[in-house]
């Protein structure tokens, strides 16, 4: 590929690096290193297809690859993920701001969801995608996506209720 395509790709990566890493971080339940690895793998695949997708929707392509990689690698237990029983209590004091504490609590709660449920919840509520879009991205029927989303939200509701009860 030519120099101009390389420059164009690097500009795209620099512009979308942060957003893709934030999505990856939510999809991995707050594991930033793993999120970075997955984003890099998605970008490598994007570069292979760059000549085809550069003029269309490169970010959508990268997001789809990232979501599928996250779901697949988690299914294989490649990363040895071990969700904890209890969401850690993070005190919003000292150098930690309240928003960071809340974020940590959210990521810890997300980490307790099965990968497919987590992906469905993140895509529906963070990416604001419709059920059919989520279904297409995950390669699953709409009914399955609806079920994953409902169960994921119920599980999160229960986790946060338990945390609030413990804190109270």
């Amino acid at each position: 590929m030519g120099r101009s395509q390389t420059d164009e790709f690097e500009r795209f990566v620099a512009a979308r690096w942060s957003a893709l890493n934030q999505l990856g971080s939510l999809l991995t339940g707050g594991d930033r290193q793993r999120a970075e690895d997955l984003v890099q793998e998605a970008l490598v695949k994007l570069w292979s297809a760059w000549s085809r997708v550069a003029d269309e929707a490169p970010e959508a392509y990268a997001r789809t690859v990232l979501v599928r990689l996250a779901a697949r690698s988690a299914r294989r237990r490649w990363w040895g993920e071990r969700p904890s029983e209890q969401v850690p209590e993070v005190e919003a004091a000292g150098d930690l701001s309240a928003s960071v504490a809340e974020r940590t609590k959210l990521e810890a709660a997300l980490a307790q969801l099965p990968p497919r449920q987590r992906a469905a919840v993140v895509l529906r509520y963070y990416q604001d995608m419709s059920e059919s879009q989520v279904a297409e991205m995950l390669g699953a029927p709409i009914g399955t996506v609806r079920s994953h989303t409902r169960r994921g939200v119920e599980r999160l509701r229960q986790i946060f209720a338990d945390v609030n009860e413990t804190a109270g």
């Binding site: 990566v13 970075e36 890099q40 490598v44 963070y126």
Partner: protein, 129 residues
């Protein structure tokens, strides 16, 4: 959408510190691209070698298979010639019952396969009658 779902959306979309694309990320990305490209080249080369080997084996085995000809249990290539069955009269010669029968009536009651016989017998019968 209930209160919890609204709260979930707020938490998920809470602005985060932007992460910059650092030089180390750039180096790692291009290194990964090179690794993937090399792996792809190796995969294609391996596929080509396997295909060439398969063709070579096929070329070696094909002449042997042609030379060997059909096996003992193989079906015959040419069907055995059928023998011509001589035509047999389907109807027996009609018995002449009426003494005043003519040649035309005799030939009219015989089949086409027995024409010569009937003619000869008819001639003899007329000569004898």
């Amino acid at each position: 959408m209930d209160d919890f779902e609204q709260e979930l959306i707020r938490m998920l979309r809470q602005p985060q510190d932007p992460r910059s694309f650092e030089p180390r990320h750039r180096e790692q990305l291009w290194a990964a691209v090179r690794v993937r490209r090399r792996a792809r080249v190796r995969r294609i080369a391996a596929g080509s070698v396997i295909a060439a080997a398969a063709c070579a084996v096929g070329l070696v085995l094909l002449p042997r298979a042609v030379d060997a000809g059909p096996g003992p249990t193989g079906p015959p290539t040419n069907p055995a010639p059928t023998q011509m069955v001589p035509p047999t009269p389907t109807d027996p010669l009609p018995q002449r019952t009426s003494p005043g029968g003519s040649d035309s009536s005799v030939s009219g009651t015989t089949s086409p396969t027995t024409t010569s016989n009937s003619l000869s017998s008819g001639a003899s019968s007329t000569s004898h009658g």
